[in-house]
């Protein structure tokens, strides 16, 4: 359980809807404690890859290994046990609209733990206060703003103290300040909870600010064309597509821009 050892391994993964191949031959390793970025242009299959990694979409070929165990070849009971170690933040939050925030977070605790109601209430309060939403227990998702919904969804994702946190476009639909705060929160939680974080995003600011490892999925060849620390990719990559993506289409990395990207990425 030490940081730095392989936690999630994806081997020769091919994902297809029917006869249409969305992604082919993906292989990469995510180490414990990484903030791993899956990046690429819109429509490139990033979210599809995430769905395959969290057990929603069976791959056509290949494996997803968690601590060496293959997610798609274990029996359903074991799979459900592994899935419970995940926390997933969906793109639009996906809070259950008929439940209050407190009930949203309490549901996984009620289902999978033997805690008594008072303990669950304490945990719910804790999770909400971690995302800065204490006092909002009795609000319905429709009664709070988009940024707050996203943070409440993060609180729900953390309900069972997951080993791996998945984020699907965490900053989509947030203003720059909220997006920045969410990035800070992700970093903080990774450091203090010692979880592995997988983020699907195409927000350059986030990519450089939080990622320490990444894969770039090319929308045309439907596979990984670059991998590594995004900041290193920016300076060292020879692939024009990767450079174009990381420089918002400018294509050229001039020195000043490189410096600002790195500054923005560097943590105080």
């Amino acid at each position: 359980m030490n940081p730095g050892e392989p936690h999630v391994t994806v081997q020769d993964l091919t994902v297809a809807y029917g006869d249409t191949v969305i992604l082919r031959d993906l292989t990469f390793t995510i180490n414990r404690g990484d903030i791993f970025i899956i990046m690429g242009a819109s429509g490139g299959g990033k979210s599809t890859l995430l769905r395959s990694m969290v057990g929603l979409l069976p791959p056509a070929a290949g494996q997803v290994l968690y601590d060496g165990l293959s997610l798609w070849s274990m029996d359903p009971e074991e799979q459900s046990r592994v899935l419970r170690r995940f926390g997933i933040l969906y793109q639009s939050g996906a809070l259950w609209s008929s439940l209050t925030l407190a009930e949203n977070i309490a549901l996984p605790l009620e289902q999978y733990t033997t805690l008594i109601p008072r303990q669950i209430k304490d945990l719910v309060c804790l999770k909400l206060s971690l995302v800065g939403l204490s006092g909002f227990e009795d609000y319905f998702p429709s009664e709070i703003s988009g940024g707050m919904r996203k943070r409440a969804a993060l609180a729900r994702a953390m309900a069972l103290d997951p080993d791996v946190l998945f984020f699907d476009e965490p900053s989509a639909g947030l203003d720059p300040i909220s997006a920045h705060l969410l990035d800070e929160l992700i970093l903080e939680l990774r450091d203090s909870l010692r979880a592995t974080v997988v983020v699907v995003t195409h927000e350059l600011a986030s990519i450089f600010a939080i990622g320490n490892n990444s894969v770039f999925i090319d929308a045309d060849t439907r596979t990984i064309t670059a991998a590594g620390d995004p900041r290193t990719l920016l300076t060292d990559s020879r692939d024009p597509k990767v450079i174009s993506f990381l420089t918002r289409g400018a294509g050229i990395v001039d020195k000043a821009q490189k410096r600002t990207s790195l500054d923005r990425g560097a943590r105080p």
């Binding site: 609209s97 733990t113 303990q119 304490d122 971690l130 006092g135 009795d138 609000y139 429709s142 953390m158």
Partner: protein, 376 residues
């Protein structure tokens, strides 16, 4: 995993050492802050709690709730807490949890409302819903006027699609229900009429019953459940996804673009479905007549033709058209009034079916009374 252990030691008369050790995770069911409070109650002279966590081998949120619990009980009892050597992550999470970024506003709990006020509220709500319905009907009228003038903005392909969905695709269920209704009606009538040796009149009872009342009402109820509910769910989801707002801001009236084709489709298809249900119902009656009552097919048909007047058919068809409009209007209205959540779509669908069925039955009563007065 080592069990989670909570130990106490009295170092000074006024200081209580609280020692946490072992694996403090949920699976180990670690002790709760209540244990500290009990210990504190036994030694009232304690003014300081010294927490030490050097021997912790693992922790998760359970440790955090424990520490928060200790902090709050300490402040309640005027005791200070010294936290020694907390794990780095725990310190940071506790700091994060106590820094509230959002302004804390606790939702006011609903005060108890006296019954008179509640009755008044629901009366006002009823009045408001009447106004909303009238408003909706007014908008439909405006849309209809624009349709007659040929300036309504809707796509013919939409109309044809709805016609197909609520017409042709409803045939199987309409057949099944009306044949069975015809059978049941004939069976009950046969048992009674046999007593008088008047079996032949089964044909008349089934014919008039189906054509005048049962075929239109059963078809309408089937379509309320099948099509009205789907209208409400579809428009409700469009409301949730802001698709209706998108139409409005483009200057396209959702009344014309969404409601008109659905209403027209049901207005046109309901009488046709009703006519079909008439035939199916008579067929069901015929099955009983021919099998149970020794009537020939010819006899049964002649008797049906003699007893069912053309007026009966017209009354049935007109009621069917009216019901069609009612089902479409209820479905679309509830869909358009839908709130912006998944639960609201469910409510809209339920409400659409209830409104349709209530309005169908009320309309049936009115039509029957009017026909009686006009002696149709």
């Amino acid at each position: 995993m080592d069990p989670a252990v909570l130990a106490f030691a009295q170092t000074d008369p006024d200081a209580l050492a609280v020692i946490l050790s072992g694996d403090w995770r949920r699976a180990n069911s670690p002790p709760e802050a209540g244990a500290v409070e009990e210990r504190l109650a036994n030694s009232p002279q304690v003014r300081r709690i010294v927490l030490s966590t050097e021997n912790l081998t693992g922790w998760d949120s359970m440790l955090l709730t424990f520490l928060i619990g200790v902090r709050s009980l300490a402040s309640r009892n005027n005791v200070t807490v010294h936290e020694m050597n907390l794990p780095e992550g725990v310190k940071r999470l506790l700091a994060l949890a106590s820094a509230t970024r959002e302004r804390t506003l606790v939702k006011p709990t609903a005060p108890r409302v006296p019954i008179v006020e509640r009755v008044g509220e629901s009366a006002l709500a009823f009045w408001r819903s009447l106004l909303e319905t009238t408003d909706f009907l007014g908008h439909i009228l405006v849309a209809l006027v624009r349709l007659v003038r040929g300036t309504a903005a809707f796509r013919r392909s939409d109309l044809l699609l709805v016609v197909q969905q609520c017409g042709a695709q409803a045939l199987p269920i309409v057949s099944l229900i009306s044949v069975l209704i015809g059978l049941i009606l004939a069976f009950i009538a046969a048992i009674q009429l046999k007593l008088f040796g008047a079996e032949i009149y089964v044909a008349g009872i089934v014919g008039i019953g189906m054509v005048r009342a049962l075929a239109p009402i059963m078809t309408a109820i089937i379509l309320a459940g099948r099509t009205g509910a789907s209208f409400a769910a579809q428009l409700g989801t469009m409301q949730v996804n802001e698709e209706i707002d998108a139409l409005r801001t483009l200057g396209i009236s959702p009344m014309e673009f969404l409601v008109l084709p659905r209403m027209l489709a049901l207005f046109l298809m309901m009488p046709l479905l009703c006519l079909y249900a008439d035939l199916m119902g008579v067929l069901g009656g015929l099955a009983i007549g021919a099998s149970m009552l020794d009537l020939t097919v010819m006899q049964y048909c002649t008797q049906t033709r003699e007893s069912v007047q053309l007026n009966d058919v017209w009354v049935g068809l007109v009621s069917a058209a009216v019901f069609g409009v009612l089902v479409a209007v209820s479905g679309c209205m509830r869909g358009m009034q839908c709130g912006r959540s998944a639960a609201a779509v469910g409510d809209a669908t339920t409400s659409a079916v209830v409104t349709s069925i209530v309005s169908i039955v009320v309309a049936m009563a009115v039509i029957t009374a009017v026909c009686h007065v006009l002696t149709v």
